[in-house]
Symmetry: C3
Subunit: 207 residues, 3 copies
């Protein structure tokens, strides 16, 4: 049973992979892992979301097994990030920025895979949110941290809002590319704004 | 590749979804999560078992992506549970009861999906047990609690006994509906009885 | 939708199942679980890697649901291990040895499944490594231990080296059986040597 079709990586996939690989490398270095450990964390962070997306939708074998470019991009990004990490002082800041960029690209990539499979917009957004969030969740679980997504911050919420904006623009007869860009940018901006302002969702138990 | 067939939700699925959503909401409120956090926990508790079932058996895209009714039922149950939670004093009791009800319904739903795919009774029971238990396991892991299923209590055991009763009744030429009801009721009763009497399995290490 | 083909268990699968079941039983007994808990741990340890392998590649329903022999082998091994555990003094040693044997067999089994699906060697090795490591990762997570694979030791690295050796031998026109045996043995030896010498990968942060 050979593979029938090679997945072609879009620019969106590539940029998401790069961003999440960088975030994985910084997260691994924060925890002082060895070379191999950092690579595993980077690999899992970059591919976790897309793997969940492909498994849930039945796009099997999963994307990164159909096309070596995924792994090559991760490996090159990993090497470059390690080489240049000495010039970077603030790991946490870089981790949050690259994580937010990856979040935007991967959410859109999940939405697009959902559309390809004929899912309704609501499920596309759910799939996009899971694609965006899952790599980071696995990264944080492996590093024994509380997953960012559960820290009462705007994280998955940013993906959902970005997805709603995407479908609103499509409905208004926007062309695909401006809708794509707006979706990614809005997720990135909402997420960073929430981190900066320490925004969180309203709570049931406040006094 | 659009979806070829819409999954039709049976009464069994609906009641299982409602019970597990309620258990997820109470578990989330116990841990004082925000609105979104509670919804995520409820969603994952309600859909975790069925998602694992569909992934293992290759029924992809997974059920809840084929049919919006799953999500609608969860959302409505979530809102109603939040609205009426003030009238409920003992969260833990409600959590255990709704969890036990969901356990019964979802175990049966896993058994039935297994039969549909031509699995042998033993695998149907294994699939049913995983369908029943997995949502609660993910709920407890996300909430950083020890999963109920591993607490040396009768939990998965209740599912297995319920499954054995189901196939015994089918073998005795029972009609499907009485076997269904007996299976669900026996799981519910065994589980609650075990909690009440603090029953657990025999231990290798007792003195 | 009945199952079209029964998976035939190879000798490699059988020996891997036996080794990982033994490692699961010892790990469960170390944590003083009850009979059922030990069985669950043994089952998950033995089937976790193969389940991940089959899900990622889309070989669904997963192998152990197509063929009852998997479960029978696990059950018999479980019973025999429990019966004879009294004659064994050092659980930890037995756990590490059986884990290393399972690692070798399951890595090869993942490589072979990858070849069957026409994957490139690099992905076969990645699939083999995940097949080998995942059962032990789930076992350790369920038992609330830090997964062996992340303990800065040579673990996944052993699988990768074994995989590289396998494809080097195949490339040199080796017959399949000698390549199989060399792959398994090299993983087993590297892993045990690393444990004994407390080898770990070079670290970025040493002074």
């Amino acid at each position: 049973m050979p593979i029938d079709k090679i997945d072609i990586l879009s620019l969106i996939d590539i940029l998401g992979l790069v961003a999440f690989t960088i975030s994985g490398v910084f997260a691994g270095m924060q925890k002082k892992l060895d070379f191999f450990g950092i690579f595993v964390i980077a690999f899992v962070t970059a591919l976790g979301g897309g793997t969940l997306r492909d498994v849930l939708i039945g796009h099997l074998p999963v994307g990164w097994m159909r096309n070596g470019d995924y792994s090559i991009i991760i490996f090159i990004t990993y090497v470059i990030t390690l080489l240049f990490h000495k010039y970077i002082k603030n790991f946490t800041k870089f981790l949050i920025i690259s994580d937010s960029i990856g979040l935007g690209f991967f959410t859109l990539s999940g939405i697009q895979r959902g559309l390809e499979y004929g899912l309704d917009p609501g499920f596309c957004i759910a799939l996009g949110t899971m694609t965006g969030c899952f790599g980071g969740v696995v990264r944080d679980i492996l590093l024994n941290k509380i997953p960012m997504v559960f820290e009462k911050e705007i994280y998955a919420t940013a993906c959902i809002i970005g997805g709603l904006i995407y479908f609103a623009l499509i409905k208004l007869n926007s062309h695909s590319v401006p809708a794509d860009i707006t979706c990614i940018l809005s997720i990135f901006v909402i997420r960073l704004y929430a981190v900066k302002k320490k925004l969180s969702l309203p709570n049931l138990y406040k006094q």
